[in-house]
Structures are given as structure tokens and as C-alpha cells.
Amino acid sequence: MNCDEIRPLLEAYLDGELDLVHSLAIEQHVEACPVCQRARKQQDALRAVIRAGLPRGAALPGLTARVRGALRREAGQAGERKHLIMPDWRWLAAAAAVILAFTVAVPAFRPLRSNPLVAEAVANHVRSLLPGHLTDVASTDRHTVKPWVAQRVDYSPTVQDFSAAGFPLMGARLDYLGHRNVAALVYACREHRINVFVAPSPSEEAERWSDLDGFHVATWSQGGMKYVVVSDLSMPELRGFTRQLRGATD
């Protein structure tokens, strides 16, 4: 083989993709040819640089739990419950640590895993994040969003923009929660999304927090409305958001 035949095969050879016959032919040639030897050294150097300089990072820690949660909702079968309560022990340990941390740090926190409303709200939130599902009316102007909502549900929730506090209004969506159509107001905090589900409720309820599949969920009732807030935002930031919302709806 000559240089012109060798060159196109050199990379495949170094990638270990060539058959034995071609590999041997290339080795023989490169041994004897200084030009091809230089090309080979360059290739070796480049590969070493790439491998040393681009370490293969692992997926982010919460991602497995999040994907599992989404899959479980997708499967949505009673038959999967067995699996749901017997997850990988490492996740169980991690979840226990998280629950413990929140129980200690936030007395109001209650694990509400069994609450179907919370599970449903988280499922709605996840679905809303799929491309094109976030908002039916995309507007940062509450004077556009509020009438849109009022036309579609038989109540009129307070719609406020909290841009000044770092939570701009993104729009609203009609969603289904607790066996009825509800308004979902969508806010942003950097790249994170916050869904606020609002529906009429006769009773007043204190704020309760729960955690499901890496999402935080806050529920409360005030002023004749029940609020369910879902986001993957950090707990302190989401608390900042609920304070804004509660202040505006008082």
C-alpha cells in the first residue's frame, strides 16, 4: 500500500475499526514512511488531547429519578406499584435523606406521596414542559391573560406579573386537575417553569409542601380559591414565589 491508500484508512486503523489484513499493511507502511509516521503522531496527539480534555461527565444526580417518575406516570398502571415502592436502594436512601432534610429544616413539610392531587399536578406540570404544551395563551401581559382565562373557566383567578421579583408571567393554559377544568398560570424563573393551578374552593387551607419525583408542590386555599404550585425550582426560591403569589391574592 502507498501513502495515498494509507491516509484515508489511518483514522479507522487508529479507531480499531480495520480488519487484521489492512491493519498489518498499515503498520508496515507507517513503520517505513516518515510522512505517514508524522500523520499518525498528530492523530495520536489529537486523540490524547480530546480524551484528556473532554472528560465524560455523568448525568445530573436528579435525572434518573425524574426520568423514572415520568416513565411511571406514562405507564400509569396499578401493576407498576410494586416497582414504585421497591426502587433501587440508592434512590431510596437518597430520598430518605431528602425527606429527613426537609422534615428537619421545614416543619411545614409533609410527605404527601399518597395525595392523588399532588401526583396529578406533577404529571400536569411535566406534560406542560413537553414542547408546545406550556401555554395556550402566551403573554406576559396580565390584561391579556386574565380575560383569556375568564372566558374558559367559570371563575376569574387573580393574574399578576412578578417580573420585578424575578418571576415573569409567561401565559396560561387550560388544564384538568381534580376532575375539573382548571386554569394553569405559567411563570418562569430563569430556565425553570412554575405552574400555578387555580380552582375555586370553599374552605381555607394552610400552606402544605410536598415533594414528588424531584418537583416541589405547594398547596393552599385562600380567598375562595385553591392553589397548587409545582416547579423544579429550588425550595427557597419557590417559597419566595409563593410568598409573592400569596401577597398578591390576599
Binding site: 496527539a45 480530546i50 416513565l71 411511571r72 401493576g79 407498576e80 411535566v126 414542547p131
Partner: protein, 175 residues
């Protein structure tokens, strides 16, 4: 008898790191990469009955790649039409640059790889970071093996050139 979900998780969750890695380099942002990985797993689960059990990772990565490309088409169409200006980078493979490139650090390489057109960037990710064979890359990228070879070769040249360019920008700033 294991449920389809348990089977799916056993076969596909071990490839989560690979899936995330590919998505992360395709959409170039951690948050969006996580969303696309989740979407890809949901889609893979729906298509799971059609999976014939040959190569789980390649099968999953094909879906991850398709999901990411759809996302790019909607959100950053310019990413898919970047010109590949090889002319501008010719003649940079001299030994001085080579010497520099040997010492190129992670930040420099990351930036260089991120600036590469996506069709070539993914070749480096699949081959160098994920260690996929040419055949597997051909399956994931849905192109013949010959195309894998030529794209990978061009991608390596491009990466070397990008590193050289970045080093030049650096030294220009330092002066």
C-alpha cells in the same frame, strides 16, 4: 413475569449517562438536555414494543438524537444550518499549533467542540466521549459507515482547527 416498564428500565436506564451526554452536546445546555432526555425516554418507552433487542444503547441514542434535532429545528434552527468553513482553517496543522493543542485545557476544548457544527460535533461525542463503534454511530446518525468515517475525519480536523483558533484568540487577548 416482569412488566414492560421494569424490562424497559433495566435495559435503558443504564444508558442514561450516554443519553444525557449526547443531548448535552447537541443542545448545549444542561437544563434543555435534561428535558430532551426525559422526552426521549418517554418516546423510547412508547416504541419499546418495536425494540428487537440488538443494541439498546444505539437504539436509545437514535431516539435521543431525533428528539434533540426536533428541538433544535424548533428552537435554534440556525444551529442546523451553520456553514462548515474548512477553507478558513486550512494550514493550521503546523507543529507549533500541535504543540499548543497538546496542552489545550478542558475549557478550551469544550468551547471548541461547542462551536463546531452539530453534524460534526456529534461525531466527536459519540466516538471520543461515548466510544461508539463506527457501526453504532451509523445506526444512531442514520448514515452509511462511509459517511461516518468522512464526517469523523472532518470533525477531528475541525476540532484541531477550532482549538488553534481559540488559542489564537487567547494569545491575542493576552498581548
Amino acid at each position: 413475569m416482569e412488566t414492560p416498564l421494569v424490562q424497559f428500565e433495566q435495559l435503558m436506564l443504564p444508558h442514561l449517562d450516554s443519553a444525557y451526554q449526547l443531548a448535552r452536546w447537541l443542545v448545549r445546555n444542561e437544563h434543555d438536555a435534561q428535558d430532551q432526555v426525559q422526552e426521549a425516554y418517554l418516546r423510547a418507552f412508547r416504541f419499546f414494543p418495536q425494540f428487537r433487542g440488538a443494541d439498546g444503547r444505539a437504539w436509545l441514542l437514535t431516539i435521543v438524537r431525533n428528539v434533540c434535532y426536533s428541538w433544535l429545528r424548533r428552537n435554534r434552527p440556525a444551529d442546523l444550518t451553520e456553514p462548515f468553513d474548512e477553507e478558513a482553517h486550512s494550514g493550521v496543522l503546523d507543529s507549533a499549533v500541535d504543540e499548543h493543542a497538546r496542552r489545550a485545557d478542558t475549557e478550551l476544548l469544550t468551547r471548541a467542540l461547542e462551536q463546531m457544527p452539530v453534524l460534526f460535533r456529534e461525531m466527536i461525542v459519540m466516538r471520543e466521549l461515548e466510544g461508539l463503534s463506527y457501526k453504532e454511530i451509523a445506526v444512531v446518525a442514520e448514515v452509511p459507515i462511509g459517511t461516518v468515517m468522512s464526517r469523523l475525519a472532518r470533525a477531528r480536523r475541525q476540532l484541531q482547527a477550532e482549538v488553534a483558533k481559540q488559542l489564537k484568540i487567547f494569545s491575542d487577548h493576552e498581548l
